[in-house]
Symmetry: C2
Subunit: 213 residues, 2 copies
DNA sequence: GCACTTAACTTGACAGCGTCAAGTTAAGCA
DNA sequence: TGCTTAACTTGACGCTGTCAAGTTAAGTGC
């Protein structure tokens, strides 16, 4: 039915047109509306207007769809962090704080999607599309950490410290929302914590990373 | 069948004896063996040797069982942290580090259970049994943080900083395990990160918390 | 313009899932 | 011994992911 209501009435390349992306769109919508519990292959197919078995031609089962949704999630995640970074002052610390705010903004506004991206056992983290999207997100944070002094363990220790702190804070504050009783989490902002991390901007060396933007 | 092989052959209070705990045992076993994807009400019932509908008399559906499993998980979690703490030297910093090691030891050895305890949307975080068990675990960490100086946001900021860092590190290192390619995470230990947190033991005041143990 | 190939999608079936209603068994008690 | 009630079983329901087979339509060679 109403298959003719495609964006291009002239030439629909196949039955649907772009079912792959449409199924991911549907999945993200359902994720936002009902959480991961309501996310089903059949539900995504129905929302995209195709039969319950159509997704099998584009994804390797449920795991494949979830992996593709997670990959899309990482791209949106990267966009959110970059957007916040570009609205900040061009100082190392303020840029990093802006990235952190973007990180938490995304995790709070897309809780179920964020959860799927990180903690689900139903996602194939070996998938190239996903690891690529995930690596791009990580790179934004790593770039934000680069201008600071690192300990003997090198820059990775700084990156993991920030990334862990944000990931943990995001997960805990999400859990605190779902709890009835008052949680100590509720009164603590990320800006109360970040100053207690040992982060000193390097002043000696120049030119290595400061070229970009 | 072999219902008579109970621990007390004398007086089995009812058909099974202690199905409530047996179902949680079964659930944790299945969780360790197959991950959360293989955890089903019917599977737990089968492992406990009862029919597929028996769990309904002890738990409010799947959510109830998962919530009870999570609560049990928090108690095991608390035990692990306390055990590590009591094997450490009686200095504030070493005690806190020991608690952190206990935290990560548990999360690494019980990945699926840990995941269920924190990030699942299928658990009822308003359940009194669960919030109680969860609060006891939090208290161990809060006690470990108490001897240190806190910023203007009070002790909660220190607690949330440590808790977030551990929770994030646990989740990311778990994710790194599931990824094929080399992850920057793999080379960084928690002991590379903890020294970069601003944590100064209070030396002036005495007697407030140092009484215990 | 027409047959051929192949990708995209549909239809129908299957077992396994959580949940519910109704029936059965056994424990505790008067 | 008979009654009440908690513990558990049986059977059914709709929903799920997945698979096999059939159908439709797009692309291609002639």
């Amino acid at each position: 039915m109403s298959r003719t209501t495609n964006r291009k009435t002239q030439k629909t390349p196949h039955h649907h047109g772009d079912l792959y992306e449409a199924l991911i769109d549907a999945g993200i919508e359902i994720l936002q509306e009902t959480g991961v519990a309501g996310l089903t292959l059949r539900g995504c197919a129905a929302r995209a207007g195709v039969s319950h078995s159509a997704p099998a031609h584009h994804f390797e089962g449920m795991e494949g769809l979830l992996t593709a949704i997670a990959a899309r999630g990482f791209r949106l995640f990267t966009e959110t962090m970059i957007k916040e970074r570009e609205n900040s002052a061009d100082k190392p610390r303020e840029r990093l704080v802006a990235i952190c705010h973007g990180y938490l903004q995304f995790s709070q506004q897309n809780g179920s999607l964020y959860n799927l991206m990180f903690s689900s056992e139903r996602v194939n983290f070996s998938n190239a599309n996903l690891t690529c999207a995930s690596a791009l997100a990580y790179q934004v944070l790593a770039d934000g950490c680069a201008p600071f002094e690192h300990g003997s363990a090198g820059p990775a220790a700084t990156e993991i410290m920030i990334w862990s702190l944000l990931h943990g804070y995001a997960g805990l504050s999400r859990k605190a929302q779902h709890t009835d009783q008052q949680h100590p989490m509720s009164n603590i902002r990320i800006d109360d914590i970040l100053p207690h991390l040992e982060l000193k901007a390097r002043t000696t060396k120049r030119g290595s990373k400061s070229k970009q933007q």
